[in-house]
Amino acid sequence: MEFKLEAHRIVSISLGKIYNSRGQRGGIKLHKNLLVSLVLRSARQVYLSDPCPGLYLAGSPVPPPQPGEPAAGPPAGWGEPPPPAARAAWPEPETPPERPAGPDARRAVDAEPAAPGAGDTLQGGEAAATAEAAWRRAEVPRAAAAGGAGDPAGGADVCPEGPRAAHRPCACPPGGEAGPGALSCAPRPAKDERPVPPPGCPRKRGAAAGDGPADCPAPGSSPLKKPRRHPEEPAGGAAAEEEEMETGNVANLISIFGSSFSGLLRKSPAGGREEAEAEESGPEAAEPGQICCDQPVLRDINPWSTAIVAF
């Protein structure tokens, strides 16, 4: 169990570093961020592989995303299934997930959640989609924060509460703590600059929170203009001669690994608070979180309550 807490803590710290690196003078340091992402990966593997009662793990956590590779088979020997209360939150994950490919993934209205045996490999298009989504989400709270304090979206908390609202308060500071440090619950900006929705996400949340928070915009919204800063490869948006310093992979890793770290974006003491929350949420850890990622596996293995919206 302590490995899990340690791993959780390391994951939170890592995500904090990646987040902070974006404001660094001189631009994002590729080497450092790569190393941090490797630590993130290791910690995640440990977290997911450490058998812990009450933790429901639906998929294979192990292989890092390999675009283009076929899905791996279902892993054996996972943690126990979640308590029935949690399970009720999801539609029953019996059917194998659709393997969306390419652009279709982005527009899937209601992809089924992952079957337990779903492979976890990311296909290139999905990876790009999540990366894109992740970066746009990052833009959203910043725009909001820049726009001023307060919670213009009426406190539509991006922290996915869903069925767990009762159990676990969103770790994000109550709305309105605008500013760079509090992006976890960034209010939705009035101008709806939502990213393309990863499949599956909005629908999960739909039951709980009205039109859904900013991080999982309603399905079917049309793809938006990409932020100029981080053009994706296939679009060829980058200037023909000069290339961007591409750090999209960093964001991608965040979106893959980083859903729902409570209190992540509070500056400090992130570690202690998270551990406390992890403890109190033991039985609830099994509840599926609102993951803004189209990976079927991750949807089910996410134990934490808040999505990383800011990323």
Binding site: E6, A7, I10, I13, K17, R25, G26, G27, K29, L30, H31, K32, L34, L35, L38, V39, S42, A43, V46, P65, P67, L122, G124, A127, A128, A131, R229, E233, A239, E242, E243, E244, M245, E246, T247, G248, N249, N252
Partner: protein, 432 residues
């Protein structure tokens, strides 16, 4: 644009002796280069022989802003490399994250006097007052050191430049960033050749970056580059135009018993240096320095623990970012001793022949002129001697990342944050 505080700008970011050891250049975070010159030894004042004094100071790089990418480009000097001296002038290359510059350093100690058409202030004379012609003569003047930028090698790199290395052919040099290495001709600034490109087609596949690179000291076709995964690749430019395929891959298999979350970080090579002989390479990763034989790819021939007591503290070092510190390493002139920095302003030397090592400290208190450096010890529990420092009281903000060794003598330059220490071994001046 954010600017550095006065204090921060003085942090030394690179140290390099020239090929004779007469000059020592330092670069700092504020983009300045300071060159020290060794005073010639004189019989009159034997105690001041061989000391280094400031020779020249100039602003090499300024902070820039890339408007297209909304990125600030730091002025911090990442590396300085001297060119071999070919005439009375000295030349060096200095680089920040994006731009390399060639500087020429010349001395002027005479000036012409007695112009016919100009007076002493340089104003044109009234021609009617000129009644005779004289030949201007050179009169001695106070030494003036002039530095001028001769070349600017810009726009060659998308990612951050981490190393430059001058080729033994004295005509070309290479610059390496996280993903690419370019070959330049010293006289041509508007183009360079890309000789290594490890950028994956899909950036999401990125698993390693280039961390350092260096030309072989004698073979102008060979160079090595190190990676964040702990491997070294020796490349031969004769083999192909694009040297993505290495000629030799030096890699040590990981010890599974040491596996931790941070295994990958601590195996990342932060510096690689060829020995003067060209037969060996020295690498530094977070906890060790390793000597590799060019003829053996499977593992290093020697491994020295710099501060293994940090192995149990990796998580805290990760939290405070110290685990990302990039320490450099250095050979002495005869390749018998290697040196590298550590924390608490300690630096370590390892004698390859006797297998003895020593820890020394660079601090004002212990470095009065002509004082002998006292060996230090870090105790890791167990018996503690009087002057030992315990691991927990190490100051991790005092780190010695940059060190340099005189090419021929036992003189070392140690950069401790914003202070430069130069230590000389007077007793054993000759290399063993």
């Amino acid at each position: 644009m954010v600017s550095l505080s006065l204090w921060e700008a003085d942090i030394i970011s690179t140290v390099e002796f020239n090929h004779t050891g007469e000059l020592l250049a330092t670069g700092d975070k504020g983009g300045r280069v300071v060159i020290f010159q060794r005073e010639p030894e004189s019989k009159n004042a034997p105690h001041s022989q061989g000391e280094y004094d400031v020779y020249s100071t100039f602003q090499s790089h300024e902070p820039e802003f890339d408007y297209l990418k909304s990125l600030e480009i730091e002025e911090k000097i990442n590396k300085i490399k001297w060119l071999p001296q070919q005439n009375a002038a000295h030349s060096l290359l200095s680089t920040n994250d994006k731009t390399i510059k060639l500087w020429k350093i010349t001395e002027r100690d005479k000036r012409p006097e007695g112009y016919n058409l100009k007076d002493e202030e340089g104003k044109l004379k009234d021609l009617s007052t000129v009644t005779s012609l004289q030949v201007p003569v050179l009169k001695p003047m106070d030494l003036m050191v002039e530095v001028s930028p001769r070349r600017v090698f810009a726009n060659g790199h998308t990612y951050h430049i981490n190393s430059i290395s001058v080729n033994s052919d004295c005509e070309t040099y290479m610059s390496a960033d996280d993903l690419r290495i370019n070959l330049w001709h010293l006289a041509i600034t508007d183009r360079s050749f890309n000789i290594v490109d490890i950028k994956p087609a899909n950036m999401e596949d990125l698993t390693e970056v280039i961390t350092a690179s260096e030309f072989h000291p004698h073979h102008c076709n060979l160079f090595v580059y190190s990676s964040s995964k702990g491997s070294l690749r020796l490349c031969d430019m004769r083999a192909a135009a694009l040297c993505d395929k290495h000629s030799k891959l030096f890699e040590e298999p990981e010890d599974p018993s040491n596996r931790s979350f941070f295994s990958e970080i601590i195996s990342s090579v932060s510096d690689v240096k060829f020995s003067h002989s060209g037969r060996y390479m020295l690498t530094r990763d977070y906890l060790t320095v390793k000597v590799w034989d060019l003829n053996m790819e499977a593992r290093p021939i020697e491994t020295y623990q710099v501060h293994d007591y940090l192995r149990s503290k990796l998580c805290s070092l990760y939290e405070n970012d110290c685990i990302f510190d990039k320490f450099e390493c250095a050979w002495n002139g005869s390749d018998s001793v290697i040196m590298t920095g550590a924390y608490n302003n300690f630096f370590r030397m390892f004698d390859r022949n006797t297998k003895r090592d020593v820890t020394l400290e660079a601090s004002r208190e212990s470095s009065k002129p002509r004082a002998v450096l006292k060996p230090r010890r870090v105790c890791v529990g167990g018996k503690r001697r009087r002057d030992d420092i315990s691991v927990d009281s190490l100051d991790f903000t005092k780190k010695i990342l940059h060190t340099a060794w005189h090419p021929a003598e036992n003189i070392i330059a140690i950069a401790a944050t914003n202070n430069l220490y130069i230590f000389q071994d007077k007793v054993n001046s000759e290399m063993h």
